[in-house]
């Protein structure tokens, strides 16, 4: 409507002005009214003279203005309503100039000028580079957009290279005159591969078994054991959860709990444990709800998998719901782009991608898929994400039976309630009336409004400061002479401003009652109000019938009398006015009913998407603004650079008219000739074993990403991955058994000179453990690790998490994977060890070095306990100091100490100052653990054990514990 009016206004302006314009080509108008404004307010940021083109926009020549900036043309001659500059000047989209809106007259002149054709004499070319446009030919040749080559494995004459991947590595090393580091010791490899595959240190038993295993396939057997372990899914599931920005609360603005998030986590763990082929894994997470299911169990699994799309953070309290939806789609698209394609698609939300050949049109064409997907249950305040019931015939039958029984009970109790209530209301009304009569009988001038009924221990009080009565009390305090007049004024609807915004039905009603007979004194005022109230009450009590709930009028009256802001305050227990036998019977039935309610069989739900009711296509949003569109809604399609047009052998999907097209998109992702999907995933697997991927920017294979260190190896691995049926476990097996993986970390200055970052892998990388294996190892060393897998997180923590509160349950014995991830109040432990923000897809954990890490290992109860418990085990197992040291080393470092280390240990034990404060037992216990050290002096007086405790603590502090070689 507004636009329509503006168009009319414009046409009028247009027709008037055209006659004037004939005399001139319009440039005079431009020179007089437009140019000065542009110079004064715009050139500073949008001109060659200033050397700036903010938003890609220059306003200092006609052509640059017509061409526009990142968001498109800034003006359309003759059409102010289509001209972005008008929106900007009117502060309707972007607000320009930022220093303050121009006055209306100036803005009108711009409108005139554009209407009349936007004459503009400024033709000089400034020589500034034009807005860069995508060079499609060049883009097509970029390695990541070309299907993987059919690579020939290089022939290498060297015994070291035992597998094809070693041959690639060796060939490249040889080119640089580098040679591979020697093989790591068995214990080093075992600790490395154990942490890599299951996230736990090897037990001393496993260490001994492997060290003494004479079989040729000892290494293979270890790998088989680890890949069979259910803990494998916990470790690699966690890697995936990083990518999937998994969390157990929403974070963002309203940190609501995700009660069902754990189902998605368990799904991921199980998917890895069962080695779900990666292509299938993608289909399930993007479109599980659209895949056929052979059983209910499979349907449940497939629905749960789509939690991937729901689990991101959302601004649930955003009032602009269009923005909320646009942001959710963006979050999904950005995540999908990074995770599966290794492309930063999100960059194209506001403009064509600055570096990659991804246009804003590509982005919005893809966005149609997610706009046509239902991610939210509703968009009310506060909005709610989608959860879907997981089908289960047995539970459904149980529930059905229950509901029938429940409904019957409910009806009975309700009938009893209504009956009792009606009875009570009558009693109460009578009581009130008689009380009031006796109140009137006392000729008391004071304003005390309380009336008490000793008999029933009930106090009835007029609430003088309630919203309804306050104005009247204020009036009552006026001098007698002014009172009547003031009351009159109050009731004149013409002058009474306040009645325009009455707050409640109560207030309305009180005004109404009093208005019929305006009181003349304060006491009279109270009398009138209370008399009216008791009258109303009686009426209410008799009106109460079977339709109690349905009758809105009665509900209002109820609220009025009992509600929060009621003018009458009745202190009473429910049922207080009933005869005791009636009251007790009712109470018993209600209690019984409430117990029954608690027994309702639960219906399992999962965070999951559904198809939207309608397919919704979207147009390009100008500068990402969800209120401003350029052109028509775009049909869904994949980005141009990945389309058939550029990659002949990769057919572009045909999106269905009646559905979101998620399944077609997912299937396109996993087409054998897709240039990105397999490469991106094998690179992630590689990163999990070497600390760095072959492409060091694992979620960005675009032009600003890193080039692959071994492009041919990457392609070979991608092809091999598909040949192995997209089996992730097969990739692990091949990698961890390779000579490359089995190299030691060594110090080699010459090699370091040539390849300081070890991109060519002349040695294995030394890696710091992530937060989860650090904590899990501490639990394992402390001997209290709970090996149970999966389950709801309340069960894991035993606590309900207050959405706003800080939360910590580090002392739980559960593996760290199962600790709730509270986005808004993430435990300090996680961020200390570089798991900083679960709100966005995380491609790689950094490994910073901050003092809080040492403080944690030195002082936190968890590490306190680990050191203490290990010392207990070591000292009770043997009297031999040498064996004690060996045992401690096996537990903490997964190896046995050399003579020098044993000698040093013995020195420490002998010299350690004991007993320490700890042994002296004076201070507090280690919180949250049951066997938490010295509770009393007699339990822990042994100064020798004390020395071992402090020795074990020192081992945990040293670097070797935190790093894997």
């Amino acid at each position: 409507m507004q636009t329509f009016m503006r168009l009319i206004a414009m046409n009028i302006a247009c027709s008037c002005w055209l006659t004037w314009a004939v005399a001139d080509d319009g440039t005079a108008y431009f020179e007089q009214h437009i140019r000065p404004v542009l110079v004064e307010h715009c050139y500073e940021c949008h001109s060659n003279g200033a050397g700036k083109a903010e938003g890609g926009l220059r306003l200092d020549t006609q052509s640059s203005m017509l061409e526009g900036g990142d968001s498109g043309p800034s003006l359309v001659p003759g059409m102010p309503a289509e001209s972005m500059i008008m929106d900007a000047l009117n502060y309707e989209s972007v607000e320009m100039p930022p220093s303050g809106k121009l006055d209306a007259a100036t803005i009108a002149k711009f409108e005139n000028w554009i209407s009349s054709g936007a004459a503009d004499p400024r033709t000089e070319d400034s020589g500034m580079p034009k807005k860069p446009s995508i060079d499609w030919e060049q883009a097509e040749n970029y390695w990541a957009f070309q299907p993987a080559d059919d690579v020939r494995v290089p022939t290498v004459e060297n015994a070291w290279a035992t597998s094809p991947l070693d041959q690639f590595i060796y060939a490249r090393l040889a080119e640089e005159d580098l040679s591979p580091a020697p093989e790591a010791s068995r214990s080093t490899w075992l600790r490395r591969v154990s942490f890599d595959l299951i996230g736990l240190p090897p037990t001393p038993q496993q260490l001994d078994d492997f060290l003494s295993d004479p079989r040729d396939d000892a290494y293979e057997l270890v790998v088989d054991r680890l890949l069979r372990s259910p803990h494998y899914g916990e470790r690699w599931g966690r890697h995936w959860l990083d990518l999937a920005r998994y969390a157990d609360t929403n974070g963002a603005d309203e940190n609501h709990k995700y009660p069902e998030s754990w189902r998605y986590r368990d799904y991921v763990v199980e998917a890895f444990n069962s080695d779900t082929p990666y292509d299938r894994f993608i289909h399930e997470q993007l479109a599980g709800d659209l895949l056929p299911a052979r059983s209910e169990a499979e349907r449940r699994k497939l629905l749960t998998a789509t939690g991937f799309l729901v689990i991101g953070p959302k601004m649930l309290a955003e009032q602009d719901k269009d923005k909320l939806v646009a942001d959710i789609v963006d979050e999904q698209l950005d995540t999908v782009g990074k995770v599966f394609l290794g492309l930063t698609l999100g960059c194209a939300r506001c403009h064509d991608h600055k570096f990659d050949p991804i246009t804003a049109a590509d982005y919005y064409a893809l966005a149609g898929i997610f706009h046509s997907t239902q991610t939210m249950e509703h968009l009310d305040h506060v909005s709610q994400w989608s959860e879907r019931v997981l089908p289960d015939a047995v539970s459904a039958q149980l529930l059905n039976d229950f509901e029938q029984h429940f409904a019957q009970q409910q009806a009975e109790v309700q009938a009893l309630r209504i009956q009792a209530r009606q009875q009570e209301k009558l009693v109460l009304a009578e009581r009130l009336k008689s009380l009031w009569m006796s109140r009137l009988a006392i000729d008391d001038e004071s304003l005390d409004s309380s009336i008490a009924d000793d008999e029933s221990n009930v106090s009835l009080r007029l609430v003088l400061d309630s919203e309804a009565l306050t104005p009247w009390v204020q009036l009552s305090q006026l001098p007698e002479s002014e009172f009547a007049k003031a009351v009159e004024e109050r009731f004149d609807p013409n002058t009474n401003a306040e009645s325009n915004q009455t707050e409640s039905a109560t207030k309305d009603w009180v005004f109404n009652v009093i208005g019929q007979r305006p009181p003349e004194t304060a006491l009279e005022l109270i009398d009138v109000v209370v008399a009216a109230l008791s009258q109303r009450w009686l009426a209410l009590a008799t009106e109460l019938g079977e339709n109690e709930k349905a009758d809105k009028k009665i509900q209002t009256a109820e609220r009025m009398l009992f509600g929060k802001d009621a003018p009458l305050d009745v202190t009473r227990e429910p049922g207080q006015f009933l005869p005791s036998n009636v009251r007790e019977e009712l109470a018993a039935r209600v209690k019984q009913f409430k117990e029954l309610e608690k027994q309702r069989p639960s219906v399992a739900k999962a965070m999951a998407v559904d198809e939207a009711k309608q397919v919704k296509l979207v147009a390009v949003h100008v500068r990402g603004n969800h209120l401003q569109f350029a052109g028509d809604p775009l049909p869904r399609r994949v980005p141009k650079i990945l389309s058939e047009q550029h990659i002949g052998q990769l057919p572009s999907p045909a999106f269905p008219e009646g559905g979101s097209g998620r399944l077609q998109f997912a299937q396109w992702l996993t087409h054998p000739d897709h240039p990105l999907t397999a490469r991106v995933m094998v690179n992630r697997i590689w990163q999990g074993h070497f600390g760095e991927g072959l492409v060091a920017s694992p979620s960005n294979f675009g032009l600003r990403g890193d080039l692959p260190s071994h492009p041919q190896l990457l392609d070979w691995l991608a092809a091999e991955f598909q040949r192995q049926g997209w089996s992730i476990k097969a990739m692990h097996r091949m990698i961890v058994l390779s000579s490359t993986y089995r190299m030691a970390w060594i110090n080699n200055p010459e090699s370091e000179e040539i390849d300081p970052e070890n991109r060519l892998l002349w040695r294995q990388n030394r890696r710091r453990l992530e937060a989860e294996p650090i904590r899990d190892a501490l639990l394992a060393i402390g001997g209290r690790l709970d090996h149970e897998i999966g389950g709801a997180w309340e069960a894991a923590s035993g606590k309900y998490v207050d959405s706003g509160a800080s939360w910590s349950d580090l002392d739980s014995p559960r593996r760290t994977l199962h600790l709730p991830i509270n986005r808004a109040a993430l435990d300090d432990f996680f961020s200390t060890f570089d798991y900083v923000d679960p709100a966005a897809s995380l491609e790689k954990r950094p490994a910073t070095i901050v003092p809080h890490q040492t403080l944690f290992l030195m002082n936190h109860p968890l590490s306190m306990h680990a050191g203490w418990a290990l010392a207990q085990r070591v000292t009770s197992a043997t009297q031999s100091p040498v064996d004690r040291v060996r045992m401690a080393y096996a537990n903490v470092y997964g190896r046995y100490p050399n003579d020098d280390e044993i000698r040093r240990a013995r020195e420490f034990i002998e010299q350690a100052e004991t007993p320490s404060l700890w042994t002296r037992g004076a201070l507090v216990n280690v919180a949250g653990t049951s066997d938490n050290g010295p509770n009393s002096d007699d339990k822990f007086q042994d100064a020798e054990v004390d020395a071992w405790v402090r020795y074990c603590r020192s081992l945990l502090l040293a670097n070797e514990f935190l790093y894997i070689d």
Binding site: G100, D253, M315, T344, N748, R766, M858, E913, R950
Partner: protein, 464 residues
Amino acid sequence: MHHPSQTSCSRRQVLKRSAMGFGALALADMLYHTLPAARGNEPKTHFPMRAKRVIFLFMHGGPSHVDTFDYKPLLARDNGKPLPFDKPRVQFAETGNLLQSPWKFRQYGQSGAWVSDLFPHVGNCADNICFIKSMHGSNEAHGGALLKMHTGSDTFVRPSMGAWISYGLGNENQNLPSFVTIRPTMGHGGVRNFGSAFLPAEHQATRIGTNRGPMSEATIENLKNPKLDYRELRQELDYAQGLNHLQLDHQGHDAVLESRIQSMELAFRMQTEAPEIMDLSQETTATHRMYGIDDPRTENFGRECLLARRLSEAGVRFVQASHSYWDQHSELKEKHTALAAEVDKPIAGLLQDLKARGLLDETLVIWGAEFGRTPTAQGNNGRDHNPHAFTYWMAGGGVKAGYSHGASDDYGYYAQHDRVHVHDFHATLLYLLGLDHERLTYRYGGRDFRLTDIAGQVVNGIIA
């Protein structure tokens, strides 16, 4: 990466510097120890540093600007009348007609600044204060607005401003973190409001308590060992360091392990130094009184302010002290009265104290919230959220004293003259610290990021 001072220690950077070896790092460590005071490491900046440190007093919930520092006589005149222009397209809640401020305003000092009776003590400091009355943001809900104010984005995960400042300027005191937040809220974005996002983790804030517990019990996690004293801890640490050196001797030098050896020493020093700084009992009774710590009403925030001063004095770059919860959709009169009484005296005490110690010139004190409140009434004693106009004030390092910048409209609904967007505020904050918001960038995921994203203009008008 355009980064004026080299402080971070990512693996890659360490590797690039690995030629230095252990000796150089050890030398650097010795240098820290020989500094007479902990403070004094001047970073290389883009511009001259007008302020070295920031203390941000954050009023969570959104105090009403028209009831505190943005005096609107017309609001009183037109009380009860409808707002004479349109309300914004998106509102948090429905509001009614104009509601006059329940508080009187009076002028203070030579500058004649109008301050309401909610802030008499701060009013007395008006000649040191630079008001910005034309702030505006873009999000009308707490969470979004908090994130916008703290990170510059209510859409994406971004580092907080304190993290950016830590990244840009580094530590002034090597024994303390460069960014500390005192009693923050854990809701409305929670840790993201003081997180480092993709910046190295060392730039995230060290948190002292949360808004749930009393300040007297707030502390840094894991700072104190529950069972062992410093001497005993030192003994364990020495042994562990011995093992670290043994590993280096055995396997050859490794810059990463060497960095961790340093970091362990820093942890130990922090463990001894931080409790001392956090021990407010070292201050005189007069100082306690100045901050209102002797009065139960002002004790909590008084402690926050005094600790903020001590941390800042010791060289922490960015200290945020938070106070909750100014969200008066109703009970405006009662609750704003109570909340202002909790902070007014401590804030004034902080300003006076900094001035008396000669620190105000190099410390930038900022007061503000996620948004202001509507001049129109919610109910008859409340106001709704208003991101379209609100007031911030600054005092100290580099800003004009006794000055007022910008204006909202006649009623305080929209910022009108010399508007200052949250991005502009961030740009100006960085400028005062000597940092160019367009050049303080970090390369992540293939692109350079900055606190002000693609916006922000330095507000030259407030710079002294």
